[in-house]
Each structure stands twice: as structure tokens, then as C-alpha cells.
Subunit: 158 residues, 2 copies
DNA sequence: TGACAATACGTGTTATCACATCTATCTTAC
DNA sequence: GTAAGATAGATGTGATAACACGTATTGTCA
């Protein structure tokens, strides 16, 4: 058995090191998952990045969050939150307000419309995750989560 | 311990399902790894995508490969291989030649210059992988690779 | 043999990413 | 109280991604 992954990407030689195979496996698995996620979100007219912002802002509630705070909470680094919020504001998913006490700060909040979109997504997303991931079973999922956390230790976010 | 990942992305609530945590873990781990890989490759004047093409074309040797064949072998789906190759040809990393028997086919090959770049990357990349991944140890790496393969089963590439 | 589908690429276009730089506002130290 | 630095965000720009559509060539079959 020369490796499932090597066959997936039509690679004739097996991987030379376990480290290389792990990193390529990770990249490929994440890419497949991400692509499927993009399709799911596209059905609701948003991107995964936008979904993440909405989820973060729902968590923040009426207090809202600033640009940098949103950036810190994103799953993957997004270097241009300003224009991401611009686009979301333009379609009515979020609203922004400049602070009164500190006029540098702009607080973003999710709108009623944004909340409605999130609510519509919640159940399909739950089913999507079940369908794509739950076949591993709880123990394997726990192991996977822990191994990925292991892998990240020592990484800096930026 | 409410979860390492939740703290990383400053999420106040723990994850509601194991499936969600697994997918977010996967996305975040891959994003961190990818970002570091981009930086590594940027030091050699190419992107990770271009590195992949070079690696694929080195594997193909003098026979070369067509646009679609390259696309199939990429780790992540790239919908515009033509212009990716355009850019790489412009900087002399690959060369292309239209087929004689089937004039629809364009075969891409790695140039001597492209091979030189790959050769310069090989050792640093090996060290990079060692540094970022090998602390898991062979058994955990094997488990991770297998779990990721498990996760991908049932996925379609496109 | 000539229409029709399939194949292999190429091109147009828009949106987004990613980096660097800029502006406005606040804080701090003198 | 004012200049220097820190902070929060905005903007300019070029490269890339993603999707749709267009073109050239080949295979197939009535």
C-alpha cells in the first residue's frame, strides 16, 4: 500500500518523510474541507470569511468589536478587515459606528439581517459537519483535535 | 481547561460539538502551517502554489505535463493553471511547447532555472518540516496522517 | 463527410488578498 | 501645553483567485 494520499494527487513516488506526508495531508484535507465549506456558504450568499465575522459578531452581541479585535478572533489571518467589513456593510450584514470617547475606534455590530442569515445557516451547517466529519466517531475526533493542538504548539499566530 | 483552540481565537464559549471543533482545528492548523510555508517560499521568490508546480514538473521529468494534469496533481484545487504557468514562464521557471501530434495539448516542463530553485529549497524545506512538525514524533505523526485520511474518505476532489 | 460533442487551453472580468503606506486620534513625557 | 510615539483604522496598488465564457483541435457517428 504506497499511500492513499499519494494516489489522490497522482504522485508516483511515496513520501520521503513522515513530516512531509503529515503537512501535505493537512494541507489537502483542509483544502477539501474549505472548498466544501465555501460551497455551503455560497448557497447563502456569503463567503466563509464573512461567516466567521458574523459568528464572531454574534458572539460579541450589542457591544460589538473593533477591526483589530475581529482580526484576532478569525480562524485564519485576514490582513484587510476594513474592506471586508466595507463589503459586509454594503450588503447590510453589519453596521459600524465611530466611538464617542475614542474617535479612533470603530465598533462593528451584526445587524438584524446578519443575524437572520446566521440563523438560516446554523442548521444546514450542523448537518454539513455531521455529514462530513462525524463518521470518525467521538474518540477519533478527540484524538485528531488533540494532535492538531499538539502540532500548533510552538507556532506564533503571525 | 476550556480548550486551547478556543483561547487561541479568543472565543469565550467552548465549542458546542466535537465536529465543529475538529473542523475549526483543522482549518486553523492548516492556515498557520500554510502561512509559515508561504514565508519560507517567499524567501526563494516563489509562492507555495508555484513550488507545488515545480515539484510536480520535476517529478514528471522531460516528458512534462499538460495543464489539466498539473491541476489534478496539485495539493489544493487551482482553477487557473494557465495563468499560473504564464507567470512561471515569464520568470523562466517553466517552459511550454505545443504538441505536434495533438495541437490542442501544451506540455509544460521545468527549466534548468526552475530545477536550481527547487534544489536550493530542498534542504531548508526539510529543516522547516523537521522544526515545525517532528516534535510530534513518528507514532503521533502516523496517527495524524491516518486520521486525516479517514476524514477525507467520502470526499470528492471537486 | 459533415455535423456534433468532447477535449485542451486561453481570455475577460470582477472580487479579494496582501503588503506598504497614510491619516486621524489619543497618550505620555517633558 | 506641546512634541513624539502609540494606536486604530483607511487607502493605494499590484498580484492572484475564481468564475464564466470563448477558441482551436480532435474524435465520433449517422
Amino acid at each position: 500500500m504506497p499511500g492513499q494520499l499519494a494516489a489522490e494527487i497522482k504522485q508516483t513516488k511515496p513520501f520521503t518523510t513522515l513530516e512531509e506526508e503529515a503537512v501535505v495531508s493537512l494541507a489537502r484535507t483542509a483544502a477539501l474541507q474549505d472548498h466544501a465549506g465555501q460551497e455551503l456558504m455560497a448557497g447563502f450568499g456569503i463567503t466563509q470569511t464573512q461567516y466567521n465575522v458574523l459568528r464572531i459578531l454574534r458572539g460579541a452581541g450589542t457591544a460589538g468589536l473593533g477591526r483589530n479585535q475581529i482580526g484576532e478572533r478569525m480562524i485564519n489571518r485576514v490582513p484587510d478587515v476594513t474592506r471586508l467589513l466595507d463589503r459586509m456593510e454594503a450588503v447590510g450584514l453589519v453596521e459600524r459606528e465611530r466611538g464617542d470617547d475614542d474617535r479612533r475606534c470603530v465598533t462593528a455590530r451584526i445587524t438584524r439581517e446578519g443575524l437572520k442569515v446566521l440563523t438560516r445557516i446554523d442548521q444546514p451547517l450542523h448537518e454539513f459537519l455531521k455529514a462530513r466529519v462525524s463518521h470518525l466517531g467521538p474518540e477519533k475526533l478527540r484524538t485528531l483535535i488533540d494532535l492538531l493542538a499538539d502540532l500548533r504548539t510552538g507556532y506564533s499566530v503571525d
